[in-house]
């Protein structure tokens, strides 16, 4: 039996949803027929709108897909203005204020508290600036990710940006690829550092050389979600940059036709690769979807991969800092703590990019922002700007290494509070914990549930939302994982610490680092260190402990309508609300 979601998709899906959104926007939230809400909220995702969690009805998260993280001149300002005008709701975040934008781990932008009634005005403004929310969520081609400095990197193997943009232009809104069994996440990497993170995507193009020609090897079936993390598997196929679009479409068509539409939990292509194996996947692709002979894989560059790897390869593991581009200009990578920037800061960033660079800004998969195309003579003035003391190009390692997902603030799947907690953790660690000699990279990724939006499994310290009881009370807790990282031989973390109450996690990390310092051999990195140890030894490294860190969000933040509200009870929720914010009374 097809699932409800498949039934709804077969009725209305794809481009048409936009018109329906506009009709609902005109008449307001209450015009969505009560018995069609589940169906419409599912469909709205295709146009980038995700209904916020329980207690926040009628408000939406809106995701803007910026291919390869590139924001052309003028686009950051548009995002800042939209955030400032429309991303305001009844809740105010104590750390980030009333209006902000989130830069995500897939180089997209998320805004919150969006009202249905404002969508036509927002879409108009996005259109004017060449931005879109199309397919940012839902069962289709999601935002295409890649090395954020593609085309500007001095050492890159091949410029992958034209390929990423071609895939974006071709498959956004393409009728044949509108309705896939599940999300389809694509990564295109041309650099030597592996910044595209192909290993954790459904489809990965990875830099390679075949018979002297530069292009890409293809891997399929990676992803982190749901206790079922998978690395993308090698299809043994090489494509030239010109062939990438066609073969990408062929694989998407294969997924469309063979993916599991009966069971959404088994629908991602990673499960089809599990079932078939890479060889059969290649054979079906060749026999049924491509009418010229696919060459076998070329020679890859995986040995050099450094991004999120934790190895000392000499390559960079993020894009923070000042780096020379291939044209003699510089790019300046700014650390955006947990990816969130207040609307006023986004506008300031736009000003700085205009004044000192070309106006372009790029987003990274470590939730950071890069000002590109800065001539050498502008560097000192840019670096002296106030904004850069908050979003530093030379941050403390605990700030630099922090990533966090959305969590209980807005997300239905969440178990715990995330972004603000990671900000508190990073600050406490910076104040209280000395990193061992020479350790400049130390990544801590916090995800509110197993969906793994913060990519916890590839960090030095992996944190994942859980619950436990402490002194009889239910409190928020985290599982702690170690041993994860990308690089030539990527590994997912082992979850060696279970259900550590959130107020004991900073103490656990402090003890972990002290144990590392004690037992470290020479100047080995943390990743190399943990690779020497087995699971029991790893578990011993973590000694959870209360410290002077206090967590104001120990209680069940999911049971509040908004964790930071003064009156945070579900019953105090002002949602759902009309366009002017007046609550719509519910019938029960």
């Amino acid at each position: 039996m097809p699932t409800d979601v498949e039934r709804w998709k077969s009725e209305v899906y794809g481009n048409e949803i936009r018109e329906r959104l506009f009709e609902f926007a005109e008449k307001g939230w209450e015009s969505i027929p009560e018995d069609e809400r589940d169906a419409w909220f599912e469909r709205f995702k295709w146009w980038g709108l995700y209904h916020q969690r329980n207690g926040q009805e009628s408000y939406f998260m809106m995701r803007i897909g910026t291919p390869n993280g590139v924001l052309e001149p003028g686009q950051v300002r548009a995002v800042g203005e939209i955030a400032d005008e429309f991303a305001r709701g009844p809740g105010v975040n104590p750390e980030f204020g009333a209006a902000y934008a989130d830069f995500t781990t897939r180089q997209s932008i998320q805004l919150h508290w969006i009202r249905l009634e404002d969508i036509p005005a927002i879409f108009e403004k996005l259109d004017e600036h060449g931005l879109s929310t199309q397919q940012a969520c839902g069962d289709s081609w999601r935002n295409i990710v890649g090395c954020p400095v593609a085309g500007k990197d001095k050492h890159e193997h091949v410029d992958a940006l034209p390929v990423a943009l071609d895939l974006h232009d071709t498959y956004k809104g393409h009728e044949d690829h509108t309705n896939l069994p599940r999300k389809w996440k694509v990564s295109v990497t041309g650099c030597r550092e592996g910044c595209g993170q192909g290993d954790i995507n459904d489809l990965a193009f990875e830099p390679a050389t075949k018979d002297g020609e530069k292009g890409f090897n293809i891997r399929v079936g990676g992803g982190l979600a749901r206790n079922e993390p998978r690395l993308a598997r090698d299809l043994d196929v090489f494509v030239t940059p010109d062939q990438a679009g066609e073969v990408g479409g062929a694989l998407s068509a294969l997924f469309r036709d063979y993916g599991d539409r009966e069971n959404r939990y088994n629908a991602r292509i990673k499960f089809l690769v599990d079932e078939w194996g890479a060889e059969k996947m290649r054979r079906v692709l060749q026999e049924e979807y491509v009418d010229w002979e696919l060459p076998t894989a070329g020679e890859d560059l995986r040995e050099e991969y450094s991004y999120n790897s934790g190895y000392a390869t000499g390559g960079h593991s993020d894009h923070v800092g000042v780096h020379e581009q291939n044209d003699g200009n510089y790019y300046v990578g700014l650390d955006v703590l947990v990816g969130r920037m207040g609307a006023a800061d986004v506008l300031e960033l736009a000003d700085l990019a205009d004044e000192y660079g070309s106006g372009e800004v790029r987003l990274t998969q470590r939730q950071n922002a890069i000002v590109t195309d800065v001539p050498e003579e502008n560097l000192d003035d840019l670096l002296a700007e106030d904004l850069l003391s908050d979003y530093s190009p030379d941050p403390h390692p605990f700030m630099r290494g922090s990533i966090a997902c959305t969590g209980t603030e807005f997300c239905s799947l969440s178990i715990v509070e995330t972004k603000n907690r990671q900000v508190r953790y990073a600050r406490w660690l910076k104040e209280n914990v000395e990193l061992p000699e020479g350790v400049e990279d130390f990544h801590i990724h916090l995800s509110g549930c197993t969906a793994s939006c913060a990519q916890p499994q590839i960090a030095d310290v992996s944190l994942r939302g859980m619950k436990t009881r402490k002194n009889g009370e239910a409190v928020e807790a985290l599982d702690i994982g170690l041993g994860g990282g990308l690089g030539e031989n990527p590994q997912f973390a082992d979850w060696v610490g279970q259900r550590v109450p959130v107020d004991e996690v900073p103490g656990a990390i402090a003890n972990l680092l002290a144990n590392f310092e004690d037992r470290r051999e020479g100047d080995e990195t943390f990743r190399t260190f943990v690779e020497r140890l087995d699971e029991d030894e790893l578990a011993d490294l973590i000694e959870p402990e209360e410290t002077d860190y206090e967590d104001p969000m120990m209680h069940n933040t999911k049971l509040t309508w908004y964790p930071y509200a003064d009156e945070d009870d579900m019953d105090d929720s002002p949602a759902p609300a009309r366009a002017d914010g007046t609550p719509i009374s519910s019938d029960d």
Partner: protein, 123 residues
């Protein structure tokens, strides 16, 4: 869409009375009853189920809702839970989460003890 059934007192047969759409939305995040959000992940459920783990009472963090069902007026769910006492992670048996009375949703107190369908039937 699932039919709520009731027992015909005269014949003892089960018969459908009202249909109430029950579905799990957003990839296991919450239970929709009549297009309204009723039960979400992140709750702690105490339940008795020797088939789930060895604890006298499992104390499970609800991570993902898997499947909705009905038994008479009772709405039930199978969920991926992790017992915070012993660490077992598995899919539960059918656990009661609410009731439909006169077509209206009534919450079951899920902070109290939940008796699985099988254990209710055994009594």
């Amino acid at each position: 869409m699932l039919a709520r059934t009731d027992v015909d007192r005269r014949t003892g047969d089960e018969r459908p009375v009202v249909t109430v759409p029950l579905r799990i939305q957003d990839d296991g995040a919450w239970l929709s009853v009549d297009d309204q959000r009723r039960v979400g992940v992140g709750e702690l459920w105490r339940f008795y189920d020797p088939g789930f783990c060895d604890c006298d009472l499992a104390d499970g963090v609800v991570e993902n809702l898997v499947e909705p069902g009905v038994d008479g007026r009772t709405v039930e769910i199978r969920a991926v839970c992790q017992c915070i006492v012993c660490g077992t992670k598995a899919t539960t048996d059918w656990l009661p989460v609410g009731r439909i009375v006169d077509g209206e949703w009534r919450d079951i107190d899920r902070e109290g003890l939940l008796l699985s369908n099988a254990s209710r039937k055994r009594e």
